[in-house]
Symmetry: C2
Subunit: 296 residues, 2 copies
């Protein structure tokens, strides 16, 4: 397990270094927004999505440079979504990964703009000829990332989440749909991107996508468990939020024991998707174990 | 001139119909954000950017369907930027094109999300194989639109605008840079996109980009003149805003007479770029005259 953590950390560092080089430098009268983009994208983080994308791609033989750039694009979209989700009109959070959120460190207007610019940055990066020799692959990556981020993906999921938070009637079906869109779509994209970049065959692509689908849902259930029972000093963000707001989530609907059980079953199911890859997929299996056991 | 206005209206209608078909339908528990996207993107508007893109593309022989889809993508980015610019933490506007702004008609969270989703929508649309048979053209369109929208384009311009509004020291150089980024970059993209879609030669592409550059700056000076002197019942938005906030703009720095003079010179200069196209470019010349003379 320790070699897994080393590998995760090493990949996270590689992504941060690459992002640092890819993002604009803060200069000119517009530098405030660039500085805020960098604050959000280069701050501490496990970089689980980039790790998944790179490992899924490695498994099917994707070009290292293309995988790294696509991983940076995903991290930009993830960072943008966190900035906007933390805004006062959304989840109103002051703390993220143990640091002030962007609108607290800068201001609300800068936070809105930094999120907007990180979204553009992601597509600019993917569409650039540097990312992949085949323009068709670049265009396909853009299309799929945009779909994963859009109203039937991440943004749609956040919209449902707001409705649930406002007390709209809900059930396990709506919560599942919400999370499949809110966090699942981007996680699925990571697996898709790895396969696309490597021109993997259909069976391998579907296996990776099945793995990502279950991993994503498991990730969210664990998130809800951490919100219910986690230690703020470990998670780096406010816990007990959903219960405090009377907001429905997997834990409030299923209870702690059933939620834990469901997460464990999803992890098994996720790993079963990796059977066709044999031992080569051990890194992704360890990722699944890590997500299930994480404390932050 | 009347045939020009007919043509402008006809194109605006065509773009609205196409956008209506391309945008998601409001259904599912996430429908609120889709409804807000449609409210913003399908509302009244002159669709000047789509018109410029389509006319520039027609002039160099671009495929009609590709031009229409690219025009819709630009309108999505424009609509997203208006939603976010109108937010309370930005320009705090209640009225846009004579209707409540998105955060007034819906709420702030929905407005942030609808803007975010309209941005993704733009790239999804451009990258789709339906847009152009050559993936390289689609990827290039994505890259250029993302650059025009990013921290060295539209978003960077809005950041400078906020600093100017907050009273940061400024001069005609900073105001010009701000506007070249805030509105100019997207307007320039329209001309670039027309040329790219048509595989126009370099000389023609540069002529179109020169035209768009001057048109964009002229557009913004006229905007500032309308803010200073315009009729709210015609502009459909609050006027006298900049002066009321003591905010520097072209008119406050140059004075009304000089600003008018500069706008007129830019219009002449813009039209001079069209000389290589002869009479074929009359529609773009009329667009320039229209932008210079507009009352709203």
């Amino acid at each position: 397990m320790s070699s897994f953590l080393d590998h995760l950390t090493e990949t996270a560092d590689r992504v941060t270094v690459a992002l640092d080089a890819l993002l604009e430098r803060p200069d000119g009268p517009e530098q405030r927004v660039i500085s805020a983009m960098r604050y959000a994208a280069l701050g501490p983080g496990k970089r689980l999505r980039p790790f998944l994308l790179i490992e899924a791609g490695n498994l099917v033989g994707g070009d290292e440079r293309a995988l790294l750039r696509a991983a940076c694009a995903v991290e930009c979209v993830h960072a943008y979504s966190l900035i906007h989700d933390d805004l006062p009109c959304m989840d109103d959070d002051d703390l993220r990964r143990g640091r002030p959120t962007v609108h607290r460190e800068y201001d609300e207007a800068t936070a809105v703009l930094a999120g907007d610019a990180l979204q553009s940055q992601a597509y600019e990066l993917l569409a650039d000829p540097e990312t992949h020799e085949h323009a068709a692959v670049r265009a396909e990556l853009v299309m799929r990332l945009a779909r994963a981020a859009g109203p039937r993906g991440m943004v749609g999921g956040q919209m449902i989440d707001m409705a649930v938070e406002a007390g709209e009637e809900t059930d396990i079906g709506i919560i599942t749909r919400c999370q499949r869109m809110k966090t699942g779509a981007l996680i699925s994209f990571c697996a898709e991107a790895g396969g696309l970049i490597a021109h993997a065959d259909r069976a391998h692509r579907l296996a990776l996508e099945g793995f990502a689908h279950d991993l994503g849902l498991c990730y969210q259930i664990v998130d809800d468990l951490l919100d219910a029972e986690g230690d703020e000093s470990l998670t780096g963000k406010r816990t007990g939020k959903d219960a405090g707001q009377g907001k429905a989530n997997f834990v409030s609907i299923l209870g702690v024991a059933d939620a834990r059980d469901r997460a464990a079953r999803l992890a098994d199911q996720a790993k079963a998707h990796l059977d066709p890859f044999g031992k080569d997929a051990d890194m992704l299996r360890e990722l699944m174990d890590y997500v299930l056991a994480r404390q932050s």
